[in-house]
């Protein structure tokens, strides 16, 4: 439609505009409706249960905050998440660096090594670790055969097993953003720093590390937030003294039918995740569009 034609037919134009609005609404409507009915409403209904305790609207949160058992669970959840994040940063570093330097076939192989685990079910991977970490499993037998330990180590049903299993699953979420930051670093900056007489450590500290920071912060935030809500791995590899918040929520529902406590725990978990996400987005130099790789 030319400009002149548009001017001559204002009515037709508004008609086509409103038609476009209707189309847009029809495109977005079904997904929004389903999301509202199957996600937003169920969440709102669950959270409302947290405030329906006969002892008062905030009684459930009081129970969670005051019981030393529940406080211990929260503490354990945070400690595990922190340790998983720290160890993931440490382990991701060499992989991301080597990935950023490799080319051709070797790059492809290494990249597939990072991406392949993404596609395997978390349950299957956790089960695999149960087989490997068993009391009489291959890892313990190897440790005993090489004389590192005399009696089999308790690697399963405690935080050791949980850490190993969770790191295995969350490590790629740390490697990929870190690699993304490293691969974009202009190598001439490093050469220049070198040429100006900076030591290797100085170049790392003042040039390389700051340029890696966006990827590092993004990956660490992602891993930490995922760790907080992790369920399958701690539930299978953890012991009765290594309970996390997600396991507590599940046991409120399944074992005790304590819906108001489950609701309060869920709301607390979601609130912590959202607050940390907001803080990280504000304080850390995370690059935008973490999801749009």
């Amino acid at each position: 439609m030319t400009a002149a034609a548009t001017l001559l037919q204002p009515k037709a134009r508004t008609a086509s505009m409103s038609r476009r609005h209707v189309e847009t609404a029809l495109l977005l409507g079904p997904a929004l409706l389903v999301l509202a009915l199957l996600f937003v409403v169920p969440l709102a209904r669950l959270f409302s249960l947290a405030f329906t305790d006969p002892a008062g609207p905030f009684a459930t949160f009081g129970v969670l905050a005051e019981s030393s058992v529940y406080r211990q669970v929260m503490w354990n959840t945070f400690v595990v998440a922190l340790m998983v994040t720290a160890l993931c940063v440490l382990l991701a570093w060499p992989v991301a660096y080597v990935l950023s330097r490799l080319e051709g076939v070797w790059f492809g192989i290494a990249l597939y090594g990072v991406l392949f685990p993404f596609w395997i079910s978390v349950l299957v991977r956790t089960f695999s670790w149960m087989l490997l970490l068993e009391r009489n499993g291959p890892i313990n037998r190897l440790l005993m055969a090489t004389g590192i330990t005399e009696a089999p180590l308790a690697l399963l049903f405690n935080n050791v097993g949980v850490l190993i299993g969770m790191i295995h699953i969350l490590l790629p979420y740390m490697i990929l953003p870190l690699y993304g930051a490293m691969v974009r670093i202009d190598r001439r900056l490093l050469l220049a720093s070198d040429g100006l007489g900076a030591s290797l450590l100085d170049t790392f500290r003042r040039i390389y590390l700051p340029l890696c920071l966006p990827g590092l912060a993004g990956g660490a935030t992602f891993v930490f937030l995922l760790s907080l809500g992790f369920f399958i791995t701690p539930a299978l590899l953890g012991g009765s003294n290594a309970i996390t918040l997600s396991m507590l929520i599940a046991s409120f529902v399944n074992d005790r039918l304590a819906w108001s406590l489950a609701a309060a725990g869920s709301l607390a978990l979601l609130a912590i995740v959202l607050v940390l996400m907001g803080l990280a987005a504000r304080l850390l130099p995370i690059e935008r569009g973490l999801f749009a790789r």
């Binding site: 997904a31 389903v34 199957l38 060499p94 079910s121 349950l123 695999s128 291959p138 295995h168």
Partner: protein
């Protein structure tokens, strides 16, 4: 930095190789475990046998769970792909705050911890009688898969030049014709990528399924989950191997497809 000292370079390579081995090799432990002849899992097996594969195929409970998983994943994929594709196209037509808000809502199921979503869905499903049904689980999984479709199709849509659409309209094509001849061919790789990812998301999903599954509607992961807690026989390793095999097939499919069309599938 550009040329790390030899010792550092060697240790970086060695470290990276070790970590990559840590990522890939443990996953494969279930494969030899599934070929144990004994009734318990020993790694590596003392005696090899395919007897637990026969058990897996002959046991109606395992068999049904596999069929249930395929049904749930297919339904979830169809729901997520249809809704997600429409939504991704719709998202391109709005902008500003509105777009941020709607995009945030579409991605929210990725951000809310799955345990929270699962408990919420379970509670509402109990109230409306969808708990323990295939359709209930499919709807729950479709919610988890929706963000992947919106993202994948959204990426594919970005490659379409708005001028193509204007040109098609200028040549007299109606909206449906424009969609069919310009938009759809360009976003097909995104749709297929989103579909494959939706399928594997649903097929692998445990948490929602564990809460929602009834006696007759267990999916394969639910059956594995329950068996791990009851008995530790090699049949679980067989089920796990089946899941790995399917994941590898879908992974390969996604790679072939993204290579053919030269667009990212993830």
């Amino acid at each position: 930095m550009n040329r790390l000292p030899l010792l550092l370079r060697i240790s970086a390579n060695a470290g990276a190789s070790l970590v990559l081995a840590f990522l890939v090799l443990p996953i494969l432990a279930v494969v030899p475990a599934s070929f144990n002849k004994a009734s318990f899992i020993y790694l590596p097996p003392r005696a090899w046998s395919g007897v637990w594969y026969e058990r897996f195929l002959a046991d109606p409970e395992w068999h049904t769970s596999l069929v249930n998983s395929v049904e749930v994943a297919t339904l979830a994929t169809i729901i997520a792909v249809v809704l997600g594709t429409l939504a991704a196209i719709g998202l391109r037509r709005i902008d500003g705050r509105m777009r941020m808000l709607v995009t945030g809502l579409f991605l929210a199921p990725m951000i809310v911890p799955v345990i929270v979503t699962a408990v919420a869905l379970y509670r509402s499903a109990l109230d409306v009688g969808l708990s323990g049904t295939i359709i209930g689980m499919s709807l729950g999984h479709a919610i988890l898969a929706l963000p992947f479709v919106v993202i994948n199709v959204g990426i594919a849509l970005r490659a379409i030049d708005d001028n193509w659409l204007r040109a098609a309209a200028g040549l007299g094509a109606g909206p449906w014709r424009i969609f069919r001849t310009v938009t759809l061919p360009n976003i097909t790789p995104g749709i297929v990528g989103g579909a494959i990812f939706s399928f594997i998301t649903s097929f692998d999903e445990v948490i929602i399924a564990v809460f929602m599954a009834g006696y007759a509607s267990k999916t394969l992961p639910v059956k594995i989950w329950e068996s791990i807690r009851l008995e530790f026989t090699p049949v679980i390793a067989v089920a796990a191997t089946v899941m790995i095999a399917l994941a590898i097939v879908l992974f390969a499919l996604a790679q072939v497809f993204s290579r053919k069309t030269g667009s990212p599938s993830r």
